[in-house]
Symmetry: C2
Subunit: 257 residues, 2 copies
């Protein structure tokens, strides 16, 4: 139930590789276009990049991180644990998502973040956040926008864990991740494959690993998903949405810091 391993530590790689002007994420229609001055500011706000390997802990509960990050590529998840090891996954992080905002704004992180796949992060200096708000109010507003979006996702997850049945929860989770990944073009031409284990699903849904397995098997039996070694392949997104009682409209254009 708890995090079984905490084996490796993040490898700092402060070399700047991709300039913001040629950021591949900005080409996606999902992100709002920036003005030239905004782009210039973000470009020099970015201090470098950081690469984390799969399974490494990027941020730890209790830490006072001096940085704010944006996921450039890869998958990660936020989680909290109780003292006896029970773990709750709070949300997943995909390209374009901010990481470490709580720590940057309030001071101390009260959750941890672990990489699900190799992750590349854009690193920003926390100390220059004031400057961002002062010189580019639109970017400050964007950060608030992203914080409100995270709150909205948490609302939905809380509704799931609190009030949906195990079957609905599982279907909803897969449909939700699919929704987020597909607007980023992560499914490519083929079907989306989500790099998580059943333990992750269990810790997200608030279920035991055994019951999660039996619930996922129902989804498999209905042909909605196929489970691979450490991954979930989405076969029938419409079927999943129907099983989940999905009602949400697709997300429109959003900011990217």
């Amino acid at each position: 139930m708890g995090p079984i391993r905490a084996e490796s530590v993040t490898l700092p790689t402060p070399t700047r590789r991709i300039p913001c002007e040629r950021c591949p994420l900005r080409l996606l229609p999902h992100f709002r276009p920036f003005t030239k001055t905004e782009l210039d500011f973000v470009s020099q706000f970015k201090r470098g990049e950081l690469v984390a390997e799969a399974g490494s802990i990027i941020l730890s509960e209790g830490a006072h991180s001096a940085h704010l990050y944006t996921v450039l590529s890869g998958w990660a998840f936020r989680y909290k644990t109780l003292e006896d090891g029970r773990r709750q996954i709070l949300n997943y992080l995909l390209p374009g998502d901010l990481m470490g905002l709580q720590g940057s704004v309030i001071g101390e992180m009260q959750h941890s973040i672990e990489a699900l796949s190799p992750v590349v992060l854009c690193v920003f200096e926390r100390d220059r956040l004031d400057e961002l708000f002062a010189s580019h109010p639109g970017l400050g507003f964007d950060i608030t926008w992203l914080a409100a979006r995270e709150e909205r996702m948490l609302d939905e997850n809380l509704l799931s864990v609190g009030r949906r049945t195990a079957f609905e929860r599982a279907a909803y989770l897969v449909a939700f991740i699919h929704q987020r990944a597909s607007v980023l073009g992560l499914s490519g031409n083929s079907r989306l494959v989500i790099p998580i284990t059943q333990q992750h699903v269990a810790d997200t849904l608030g279920l035991s690993i055994v019951h999660t397995n039996k619930t996922l098997k129902k989804l498999s039996d209905r042909g909605l998903i196929r489970w691979h070694d450490r991954a979930c392949e989405v076969l029938d997104i419409e079927g999943l949405r129907a099983a989940a009682g999905w009602t949400e409209p697709p997300e429109g254009v959003r900011p990217l810091i």
Copy 2:
């Protein structure tokens, strides 16, 4: 399980009563002091006050509210519902808390808010939010700060619902609300009384009303709380924290818009 009633509608009372310079909340050590210019701006940013009676729905899911609010006095709660009426309470709103930020920033509200007691709100124009970010970056940062704080509370609630036992959940909820209320001086000289029904507790914890009643009875039997007609009296906060496995540090100074 669903919201039984939606009887009354908010009474608009756009009369300005309390000037921000004499806001009673600002006297509390819990809120960070404002500079004169910030206070002047907020004071003219505030459009008026709104009074909602207990049980009235202040904001509805799907609405495009043109306003942002701060709770001046009273209790309320945020919630979402599924189509068949299952309800999940997401968080509670106490004096000083922002209301309607998701709607103001992203556009559409995806949750509702209902008053638990008579509530007085400070009303702000959504249209002037850009102006706030542009002319007072510190206030823009404060709004982000409050959004990050809300996210943090949701993280904790999600951990509760997903991974704590029913008994721990109930104890944690009461201890959590007590923590928030006490820094606002809401308990006065006597013990804190929280104006909620057992149905609210059930919908917060993701439990049925029957099981919630039996769980709360255990807390009562141990002398930790006393249940009144529509209220919960906190008798032994240390006992509650012990039962909940409470580990959190007290919240420091925070902003107030």
